[in-house]
C-alpha cells in the first residue's frame, strides 16, 4: 500500500517552565496506519498528542497537516480539523445526560429559537452510540448512572461521531475491560482501513504490538526510533524505551508458592456490592492475585477488604496485632520522649472489618484503582501525603513534631526512591509512577501487614513497574499478606502465589503459581 503523509511534526518542542517535555521531535504519521507511541512516563507521548489535538500550546517547531502548517488554537479547533482525542482521564461531565455529553458544545446543531430540541439530540446520540455497538447505553440517562468504563465508551462514541481523520487514543485502554479494549481495537482497525490515521498511546506493549502498524519510541521527550511492524520485537522495544537492558521477565522468577499458614485476612461467604458468596483467605507471606473483567466485581473484593462496602451477608475478618492499651500508648510516648526503644509484643487478634475505621485499626493498607481521587491528596505535599495515614504512629502525647514527620517521610522517599525536588513538592506535580510510590509509602511506612492494592501498576511505566514488583516480592518475603487486584493477567501470573478469577461476582477458578500457567489457560474462565 502506498503511504501518503498525513501529519508531520518538524522540530516540535514543548516546555513546561524549565522542563523540556518534548524535545525537537520530527515525526511522520501516514494515512491508513495505526501508529503506536510508547515510552516511559514523562517521555512526552501524551504531550505530543496533546499538542496535536490543541490541548497544549506549541512552544516551538511546527505541525504540518497535509503539508500545510497547523497550529490549533484549542481542542475545538482541532476537532474542526477532524482530529479527535480520547484522554486518559475522565472526559465526561457529571450530571449531564449521555446525549448532552456527546454533543457538548454542539448543542446549537439541535437549536430552534434558542431551545435545544432534545428529541432530535437524543436520536442523534442514539445513532452515535449504535455506530460503535453501544445500544445498551441510553442517550437520555444521566451519565452518573454509568461506570467509569461505560463513560469512557461514551467518549469514544463522541470522538467517532465527528468522523475524525486522526483519532488519538491516549492510554484509554488501561481503564477498560477486555470487551472495551476489543471494541476500541476494532474501531481503530476500521479507521485505518478507511484510510485514516490513528495515534495509539499505551503502556501495554503486547497490546501495542498486536494492534499497531508502526511504533514510535520516545525517551525523555526525544524521538528514539520508529519501528515498523515487521521489525517488532518485545525485548528490543523495551530496550529502546528505557535505554538500558531490562530482562524479558521483570516479574519474580521463583515458583515457590508456599507461605505461612497463619491467616491474615479472611473473607467469608460475603455478599456485598456485586459479590455473591465470596470466600477468600490470605495468609502471611502470600500474594493473592484477583483477576477478571473489570465489570465482574473484582474491584469490589478490594473494597470489601477495606470495609468500604456494606456487607449484606457474611463477614470479613483481619488478624493483626492487638492495639496498644491506653497505658501502653502512654509508655510509648514516654519512651519516645526519653529516646528509649519501646517494645511491646502484642498477640494477634481477629478484627471484624465492617468499615474503613475497622480496617485501619487492623492496619490494612489499601490503594484504590482511582488513586488520584481516593488514595492521594494531590494538592498536598509529598510529606503530608506520606504521613497522613500514620499520624497515630507519629504522635507523641498527641503531638506530631515536624521532625518526626520529616524523618518518616524521608525514609519513604529514600527507600522507594521517589523522584522529587523536595518533600514539600505537591504530589500533583509528580509522574504517575512516583505518585504510586507515594501511595505505597503511605502504607509501608505505617507498617501495615495486610496490603490490598487495586491496579497497583495502572498508568505506571515499565521501569517503575519493575521496582514495584521487586518491592511486592520483598514484602511477601517479609511476611506481609498482599492482595493484588489487576486487570493485567501477565502481572497476576507473574506475581501471585494464588490467583482467583472473579466473574459475575463469584470466584470461578483458583490457580496456583506455576511456570506452566499461561494467559490462554485463564482467559476462558474470565469471559
Amino acid at each position: 500500500m502506498e503511504k501518503t503523509l498525513f501529519i508531520q511534526t518538524v522540530g516540535l518542542t514543548k516546555k513546561f517552565g524549565d522542563v523540556v517535555a518534548v524535545d525537537n521531535v520530527d515525526m511522520d504519521v501516514f494515512k491508513g496506519e495505526i501508529r503506536g507511541l510508547i515510552g516511559e512516563n514523562g517521555s512526552g507521548k501524551s504531550t505530543i498528542s496533546s499538542m496535536i489535538s490543541g490541548i497544549h500550546s506549541i512552544t516551538s517547531g511546527k505541525i504540518l497537516l497535509d503539508g500545510k502548517e497547523f497550529r490549533p488554537s484549542g481542542a475545538l479547533d482541532a476537532r474542526n480539523h477532524k482530529i479527535s482525542m480520547i484522554v486518559q482521564e475522565m472526559g465526561t461531565i457529571d450530571n449531564l445526560t449521555v446525549a448532552e455529553n456527546i454533543f457538548l458544545g454542539e448543542e446549537g446543531k439541535f437549536g430552534k429559537a434558542g431551545f435545544v430540541n432534545r428529541v432530535k439530540m437524543n436520536a442523534e446520540a442514539a445513532k452515535a452510540l449504535a455506530a460503535i455497538g453501544l445500544q445498551r447505553i441510553k442517550p437520555d440517562d444521566n451519565i452518573n448512572a454509568y461506570s467509569f468504563e461505560d463513560r469512557k465508551l461514551v467518549e469514544i462514541a463522541r470522538a467517532v461521531y465527528y468522523d475524525p481523520e486522526l483519532f488519538i487514543v491516549d492510554e484509554t485502554t488501561t481503564a477498560l475491560s477486555q470487551d472495551g479494549r476489543e471494541l476500541i481495537h476494532s474501531l481503530m482497525r476500521e479507521m485505518r482501513d478507511a484510510g485514516k490515521a490513528v495515534l495509539f498511546i499505551s503502556h501495554d506493549l503486547p497490546e501495542l504490538m498486536e494492534t499497531c502498524d508502526a511504533l514510535t519510541v520516545l525517551r525523555d521527550g526525544k524521538l528514539i526510533a520508529t519501528i515498523e511492524r515487521k521489525d517488532f520485537d518485545e525485548d528490543k522495544i523495551k530496550q529502546t524505551m528505557v535505554g538500558r537492558v531490562i530482562e524479558g521477565n521483570y516479574y519474580r522468577s521463583d515458583y515457590d508458592y508456599s507461605c505461612s499458614d497463619e491467616v491474615r485476612l479472611e473473607v467469608k461467604d460475603v455478599e456485598a456490592g456485586m459479590l455473591k458468596g465470596v470466600n477468600i483467605t490470605v495468609h502471611a507471606g502470600e500474594i493473592v492475585g484477583i483477576g477478571g473483567l473489570s465489570g465482574g466485581g473484582m474491584h469490589d473484593v478490594g473494597k470489601v477488604m477495606f470495609g468500604m462496602l456494606k456487607l449484606k451477608k457474611g463477614e470479613v475478618t483481619a488478624y493483626a496485632p492487638a492495639r496498644y492499651t491506653f497505658k501502653e500508648r502512654m509508655q510509648k510516648s514516654l519512651s519516645a520522649l526519653t529516646k528509649k526503644p519501646f517494645d511491646a509484643e502484642k498477640p494477634i487478634v481477629p478484627y471484624n472489618i465492617r468499615s474503613i475505621k475497622n480496617a485501619l485499626r487492623a492496619n490494612i493498607g489499601y490503594i484504590s484503582k482511582d488513586r488520584d481521587k481516593e488514595t492521594l491528596i494531590l494538592q498536598a505535599s509529598i510529606k503530608d501525603n506520606l504521613t497522613l495515614s500514620a499520624l497515630d504512629e507519629l504522635s507523641v502525647c498527641g503531638i506530631i513534631t515536624p521532625r518526626a514527620e520529616k524523618k518518616f517521610a524521608k525514609e519513604q522517599v529514600d527507600g522507594l526512591r521517589i523522584k522529587c525536588s523536595s518533600m514539600r513538592q505537591p504530589v500533583k506535580e509528580l509522574s504517575g509512577g512516583n505518585k504510586q510510590k507515594v501511595s505505597f509509602g503511605k502504607w509501608i511506612g505505617k507498617d501495615s501487614k495486610i496490603l490490598v492494592f487495586d491496579s497497583p501498576t495502572r498508568g505506571v511505566d515499565v521501569g517503575v513497574k519493575t521496582t514495584m514488583y521487586q518491592l511486592l516480592y520483598r514484602l511477601k518475603q517479609e511476611g506481609y499478606a498482599i492482595v493484588i487486584i489487576s486487570e493485567e493477567l501477565p502481572e497476576l501470573i507473574g506475581m501471585s502465589d494464588r490467583m482467583l478469577i472473579v466473574k459475575d461476582g463469584e470466584i470461578k477458578k483458583e490457580f496456583t503459581r506455576s511456570p506452566q500457567l499461561k494467559e490462554s489457560d485463564i482467559i476462558g474462565y474470565m469471559i
Partner: protein, 351 residues
C-alpha cells in the same frame, strides 16, 4: 517487632535519588525567575505584602498618628476579638466549611453574658456561658451540615437567623438598654491591654499546635483538599469536622466576651458584620477560602492585624465611614481575584 525500624525502609537506596531540578549555583536571576517565585509564594506575598503596605501607607497618611499610644490601645482592643475568632474559624474554613453565623453568635453570647453577669456577678460564669453557647451553636451548625449533608453556608445561615432572632426579640422586649449594671467587673476584658495581648498569644499558640502539630489539624486540612482521600487515609471525616466546629465555638465564645466587654451594652445589631470581618481578615492573610493543606494559621494572625490597621487607618486618615466599607469591598474583590488566578496557571501542566 525489634526490627521494626529497619523494616520500614523497604528498598535500600542503591542509587542516590536523582536530583531533577538542580540549578547551577551561579545563575543570573532573571525577571521570569522572580515572577515564578512570586507566583509560587503568592499566599505568603499577599499575607505579608498587604500587612507591610497597609502599615506604610497609613503611617504616612496619618502622619504617625497610627502609632500613638492611644491608637495602639484601640488597635489592640479591636484586634483581640477578631484575631481570636479568626484563629478558631480557620479550622472550619480549612476543612472546606464556611461560616457566616459568627456575628449573630457573638450577639447571642453577648446578650446572655449581660444577663449572667447582672444576675451572678461572676466573670468566670460569663466566660463559661459564652463558650457553652457558642459551642452549642457551632455543634448544631456543623452537626446539621454533616447529618443532613447540607452546605455548611446554609446551615450557618440558619444559625445566623436563629441567633440574631433571639437577640432582636430580647432587645425589643424591653425599653431599657441591655447593659452591664456593673461593668467594672469585666474591666479585665475591656481595659487590660496586657491581658488582651496575653490572651491572643496563648490562644494563637494553642491553635497553632492544634492546627499544625496534631491529628485534628492535619486531617482537617487534608479533608479540605480531598475528603475521600482523607477518609481512606484514616480520617474520621465527620468527627474531625465536628471537632473543628467545637474549636471554632470555643474561640468565638472567648472572643465574644472581649467584644461585649468593650461595648458594655447589647443592641440588636451586636456583632453583625463580624462574619465579613473574619472573611476579609483571612483573605488578607492569604488564606484560600476553599481550605486545604495550604492553610496557615498565620493567615488569621497577620490578616486580622492588617484588617484592623486598615479600617483604623482609614478612619484616622479622615475617610468617611461609608467609604470605608467601599474600600474594604474593593480590596476583598482584588485579593479574591488575585487568588483565583491560580487556577488558570494550572492549565499548562503536563498531563
Amino acid at each position: 517487632m525489634k526490627t521494626e525500624k529497619e523494616k520500614r525502609v523497604m528498598v535500600p537506596a542503591e542509587a542516590p535519588v536523582e536530583e531533577t531540578s538542580e540549578t547551577p549555583k551561579k545563575r543570573k536571576i532573571s525577571g521570569a525567575d522572580v515572577w515564578q517565585f512570586a507566583k509560587s509564594q503568592k499566599n505568603s506575598l499577599i499575607r505579608y505584602g498587604a500587612f507591610v503596605l497597609v502599615l506604610i501607607v497609613f503611617a504616612i497618611t496619618t502622619g504617625g498618628k497610627l502609632f500613638s499610644t492611644y491608637n495602639l490601645k484601640t488597635i489592640v482592643s479591636q484586634v483581640t476579638p477578631l484575631l481570636i475568632m479568626s484563629a478558631g474559624l480557620i479550622f472550619v474554613f480549612a476543612h472546606g466549611g464556611m461560616d457566616i453565623s459568627v456575628g449573630a453568635v457573638v450577639g447571642l453570647c453577648s446578650l446572655l453574658s449581660v444577663y449572667v453577669l447582672n444576675d451572678t456577678g461572676s466573670v468566670f460564669l460569663v466566660l463559661l456561658t459564652c463558650i457553652a453557647v457558642a459551642v452549642a451553636c457551632y455543634v448544631i451548625n456543623g452537626g446539621s451540615s454533616i447529618l443532613f449533608k447540607i452546605m455548611s453556608t446554609i446551615s450557618s445561615l440558619a444559625i445566623m437567623f436563629a441567633a440574631r432572632g433571639i437577640v432582636t426579640y430580647n432587645v425589643s422586649r424591653t425599653d431599657e438598654t441591655i447593659r452591664f449594671t456593673n461593668s467594672s467587673l469585666v474591666k479585665m476584658f475591656s481595659d487590660n491591654y496586657g491581658f488582651m495581648v496575653a490572651s491572643c498569644v496563648i490562644i494563637v499558640l494553642i491553635c497553632k499546635v492544634l492546627f499544625d502539630y496534631t491529628k485534628l489539624g492535619k486531617q482537617a486540612k487534608a479533608i479540605g483538599d480531598n475528603p475521600l482521600g482523607a477518609a481512606q487515609s484514616g480520617a474520621n471525616v465527620n468527627l474531625i469536622k465536628m471537632l473543628c466546629y467545637i474549636v471554632a465555638g470555643v474561640c468565638v465564645g472567648i472572643a465574644s466576651v472581649f467584644a461585649i466587654a468593650r461595648v458594655g451594652s447589647v443592641s440588636e445589631n451586636m456583632g453583625s458584620g463580624r462574619e465579613m470581618d473574619v472573611l476579609i481578615a483571612l483573605i488578607l492573610g492569604g488564606m484560600s477560602l476553599s481550605g486545604g493543606t495550604k492553610s496557615k494559621l498565620s493567615a488569621a494572625v497577620i490578616g486580622s492585624i492588617t484588617y484592623v490597621l486598615l479600617s483604623n487607618g482609614l478612619s484616622i486618615s479622615g475617610v468617611p465611614t461609608n467609604y470605608i466599607s467601599l474600600v474594604k469591598g474593593i480590596l476583598f474583590l482584588v485579593i479574591v481575584l488575585l487568588t483565583l488566578r491560580q487556577s488558570k496557571n494550572i492549565r499548562e501542566l503536563p498531563r
